[in-house]
Symmetry: C3
Subunit: 347 residues, 3 copies
């Protein structure tokens, strides 16, 4: 259950969306919840038949249902009938969150350390113990939470949100509406060493990271700076927690990178790609657009647009599934092979 | 070697446990150590015959040994004979650590930022540059180390210990005696997006995380908040470093989750489960009680109580081991298959 | 492109290295860049024929090329001909970075909290909101960035660099010229529990971590303290981001550990080893010198010096590649096996 600061009359909510409204009682609403946690001030949705028992007992203030919903299934709650109940619910939640946000003041804490040479936009919130170094630029409406560090010369766009304890190294560039969850590290040195006279010598890492608009990055994820050029995350792309992006990688637009994925240096990933959890991608590989890779796949070579892969090494998913099925018979196949060998040897 | 602030007379230690005490000299004790690092003020244990050479040379103040120990194997040290030397050693260490703790004052740093609306219990320690936001509640005897951030409305129980640089998002609930190691992130947004008109749209993540009593969580581990409901870690469960727990996951009691494991959204894990390092679990899967999964296993489907699995996809461990053994013969099997094919084609 | 604070005359740069200088115009230089981003004040290198088009159009102040370079390929830039263009470029970058560093003052921030019992060397820089607890020792010329926490009794050597938000637990030992990237955690408790009366009981973790000279550790990597003894990283070894090193592990010299590798407790890794991304190593394993393990390998048993492995379980790389090749034929082999079985059954 999520309780908002702002209460809304049920009419204020219902009027936001097109749909048929079945009114049972008047109420104010202050929260959204799952069916089983609802009270007469909360909004729920029902879309999945598996939850029909929770639905029947639910005494929510409003349940969002589909147009063909049988009203007799729940007699306690107000109902709102729309084409896509879950999607409508989501839209309402977003509106409500936005209204809630506006009730809070944006403050620049006197306990933050902001360089006099930094440029801070309007309506920016900077929390306690944030450090903003020389020549940093922060756009309008951005929110920097406690204990973040933004090193010199970096740029953060408008309407960004950095959760606590993030680190942005020097000379990084974040676009607008970028979200960094707690503990994210943008711009640590890429991992480059050359063995010289028996000693690992560091290759200087002096490029940067460029993150485009509407990118969201999960907690404790690391994106390394380019060796000389840039590591680039294109707009609308989403990275989950604990992801590793190596130096000089370029990730396209609207791509989904799940948790604990690792992408090695200089690899490029296309648009609308989906990499499931714990996938690994080798360095200098090209992954096309709309590629999908199953969990734990290990990608070592170029993948064309639209391909679906699985396994290690990553193979076409249909082939890999046949291989996985046949693997379970491999011990029998081996036994048979040995038997035949023996027979041959006797012959 | 661990040196304590508090020195203890050997009698004070020996009197803590049942066992036979063989006294060679009187001493005060101030440390615990491995056999090879010991000095006449340190306590050691001997249980593994592989370390008999270190034992013979050891000049510790006290060695904890088993009841059938041959006293002539070490003539320098006092001996304490008990049924389980290592376990007894561990108990003594815990007692000593507890005594040591009490010699330190608990202070609330004037350099921490604590909201006036936060409620702080008795005997709480809050270190420098900690940020505690509005309406947070912290129970008695808890310790919040430097640079942690606890966001609004979250609850931390009694006797908890947060190491430095942890982030707790808003509205989280931690029970009693919960330990978070450095860099842990509790409650970042779950990873949910819907592709809408060619753009990844965020599904609002407005649930929370509930962590029950005696849970310990390793460094830089991330536990995401529920989408609408809660992500739950039941009591006595232990998570290692760099683990990822997705939204709406529920993990049972006394379960062990090793480093770099990832568990995707809405999956449930039973009690007394053991997931070895780098295991991945898909979303919406049910893992029963006492399940054991070998390192790097990829679990995609429901596992019944007590099952042991290995591999990707995770299979019964006995079958998977037979597959792995047969795999080494696969190149030969393939050669043989080709030979037979050729022969058939000729026939 | 990396722009330096210090401008250098082209003669100052050219005089640093042996080589033939082809002068086209006089200029001052202020940056290094890739060929395509260069301007008349930047230094580039050309070594890879794949970039010949970028080379032709490049108007850099200086391009470092090989001795047999055809000068007509680029007519805009000054040229410097040396044996190893990339290596020479790297050396120049390092010199320049070093000069740049010296233009900055080292300051101990009044906003840092430094225990009176801590000992701080000469020419040390300590940034805002750093916490340095009792009896910590920091050597000369070290730089501790914002929001780092160094707990009591730990030692940091000379010329170390801790990026923001690192945590060093108590009683750790870092040598000279150690670099920790943002979010690194040194010395969290090892992961040890014993099931006792149905409850997971913690094994106290009271050892430490010892990191030798010239070790560099990537962002958000975790190195656990020893249970009783030490976890040790020997000199010149490099760890990438999000790596997990368990308690009592010992890693040799000049070893390369790529991102998301996990090494379980008490394992030893030799010198000059290379573990590629997402490799896992089981506990109590011995890995010899110069071992190489391919990405995602799972190492469960001792590996002799110089061995190359791949796969799970990790096998000799040549064998594993043959297995991987044969796997793609496994579905056919299985079909054939079934066909023969049927035939046999009929006979």
């Amino acid at each position: 259950m999520k309780k908002f600061n702002i209460e809304l009359k049920i009419d204020e909510i219902v009027s936001q969306v097109k749909g048929e409204y079945i009114s049972r009682f008047d109420t104010k609403l202050d929260s959204v919840s799952e069916l089983e946690d609802a009270n007469p001030k909360s909004v729920c949705f029902f879309e999945n038949e598996a939850y029909v028992n929770q639905l029947k007992a639910c005494k929510a203030g409003l349940i969002i249902v589909s147009p063909d919903f049988d009203n007799s299934l729940n007699e306690f709650s107000n109902l709102l009938k729309v084409e896509k109940p879950y999607f409508t619910f989501m839209v309402l939640v977003k509106l409500w969150l936005e209204m809630d946000k506006q009730t809070k003041e944006n403050i620049i804490s006197s306990k933050a350390m902001i360089s006099p040479s930094a440029s801070i936009g309007e309506n920016v919130s900077i929390a306690d113990f944030v450090v903003i170094e020389d020549n940093v630029k922060i756009g309008n409406d951005s929110k920097i939470e406690a204990n973040c560090v933004i090193k010199e010369g970096s740029v953060v766009g408008n309407n960004c949100h950095l959760f606590p304890n993030c680190t942005i190294y020097d000379n990084m560039v974040l676009g607008n509406s970028v979200v960094l969850h707690a503990g994210v590290v943008i711009g640590a040195d890429g991992f480059g060493y050359i063995l010289y006279d028996g000693v690992q010598e560091k290759v200087p890492q002096i490029g940067n990271v460029i993150i485009k608009d509407n990118v969201e990055i999960g907690a404790n994820t690391c994106i390394d700076r380019g060796t000389l050029g840039s590591t680039i995350i294109e707009k609308n792309t989403k990275l989950d927690n604990l992801v590793q992006i190596g130096h000089n990688v370029r990730i396209g637009e609207n791509t989904i990178i799940c948790s604990q994925v690792g992408i090695a240096g200089s690899t490029t990933v296309g648009d609308l790609v989906y990499l499931a959890g714990q996938v690994g991608v080798a360095d200098h590989v090209k992954i096309g657009n709309r590629v999908m890779a199953g969990a734990k796949s290990g990608i070592h070579s170029t993948l064309k647009d639209g391909i679906m892969v699985l396994g290690y090494p990553a193979r076409d998913v249909a082939l890999q599934r046949r291989i996985m099925a046949a693997e379970t018979k491999l011990p029998d196949i081996y036994k048979n092979y040995l038997k035949n060998k023996k027979k041959e040897n006797k012959e």
